[in-house]
Symmetry: C2
Subunit: 239 residues, 2 copies
């Protein structure tokens, strides 16, 4: 920022890439698009695109998210979106310098992406099959997965995976799916309810979680954002 010589700086293209996750049928899914042009034509990639001249990366990410999922921009404006990190290796795009700001977004289980334009090529893909992606998107996706796993430990973010009203069973399944572990039901319940502002009880009738079993009480996301103390995943470490 010191040597200031307008016009003499090396020009870069700046893009955003989105790692958009959801939990469906007990498996973590990520939103992928099929590339229509070279390079990597026909390969799957994270959705994203170039920043417009007067957009911040956050604004561009929210716009791309709305375009790719078919959500209204108004709905997309309320979704949880968070910067992951920026990828800037000189060779990450075969034909020019492209610096990409990556974001993660967590969505409740939504219908298959509809709508015109880019969304037509978008699909929810189980994380295990989201491999051999274009560019360095395998790496971005792995980083995003690590990040959300870690964030579930010390934030209330898991509720972003749930519909507006959810059962504690559904919330627990979010943790189990993202972490790939089984959690003790009674202990999970105790921990969640003992954390002020994590969830709030909702009147309305109870609902079944898995088809069978006793119907469960409904909750909505609370006002807290951090978890103190954290809800640590079992087995200590994971790096």
């Amino acid at each position: 920022m010191q040597r200031y010589d307008p016009g003499a700086f090396p020009p870069f293209a700046v893009t955003v890439d989105l790692a958009v996750f959801t939990v469906r049928e007990g498996a973590l899914h990520v939103l992928l698009v099929e590339r229509g042009q070279e390079p990597y034509r026909g390969a799957w990639a994270l959705p994203g695109g170039f920043l417009l001249p007067d957009e911040s990366a956050e604004t561009a990410a929210r716009r791309e998210l709305a375009e790719e999922t078919g959500l209204s921009e108004r709905t997309a404006a309320g979704l949880h979106l968070e910067q992951l990190r920026t990828y800037s290796e000189p060779d990450r795009d075969p034909r020019m310098r492209v610096v990409s700001v990556a974001f993660t977004a967590l969505l409740p289980d939504l219908p298959e992406p509809r709508g015109g334009g880019d969304a037509a090529r978008a699909r929810w893909t189980p994380l295990g099959r989201a491999t051999r992606l274009a560019f360095d998107h395998d790496r971005i996706l792995a980083d995003a997965h690590d990040r959300i796993g870690a964030k579930l430990e010390y934030t209330c973010l898991a509720t972003a995976f749930c519909p507006p009203r959810f059962t504690l069973g559904e919330l627990r399944q979010v943790y189990e799916t993202v972490w790939g572990v089984e959690l003790d039901r009674p202990n999970f319940r105790r921990k969640v309810l003992a954390t002020p502002g994590f969830v709030e009880a909702v009147e309305g009738g109870p609902r079944r979680t898995g088809g069978r079993g006793k119907p469960a009480a409904l909750y909505r996301a609370g006002s807290a954002s951090a978890l103190h103390p954290p809800l640590m995943r079992p087995e200590g470490r994971q790096p």
Copy 2:
């Protein structure tokens, strides 16, 4: 990343900004440089600069860190450097679109930056007096401070603030300085020593921490990077 039209993308300048912290005399200090050109001529700013055509942001950050501190690139290569986030508001630079990838670095207490070039304008500044910085650097600095405070809780990063051999008193002062709290000495000691790989005892003679008092045993950083369970700061929350 989808609509690919080489040459038709909006061009951006890409820079790195560095929030370099150290603990001296019981206070958190940050490395600042005085700007020599417009805009913000004469104002203090975080060190940083443009990416060279074949550099990643990480490489550029390490190069700038070496230039600004006067450290050899070889020494700088071993220092802890971590991406904070990317700042891309359209109006963050008054004359053109500049996207900046911000990094944090943690250094042990070093002599005043020496060496030629940019380092001549660099100074360690107590965090409380690092205000009214150029561009959006107040915001970046605040984000960086938040981040390192949080990272001390669940990583072994505090040792990056210490010299190669340090006492537990020095390590505790790092926590107390960054968090702005007092920690119980015996409990801190118990926690650190009970975490495998956090620190390792070193033979050598004991050393005084604060001038007075019983000399303390020396330790060096261990091989662990994460802290399980975390070393939470008192009073629960801080946002």
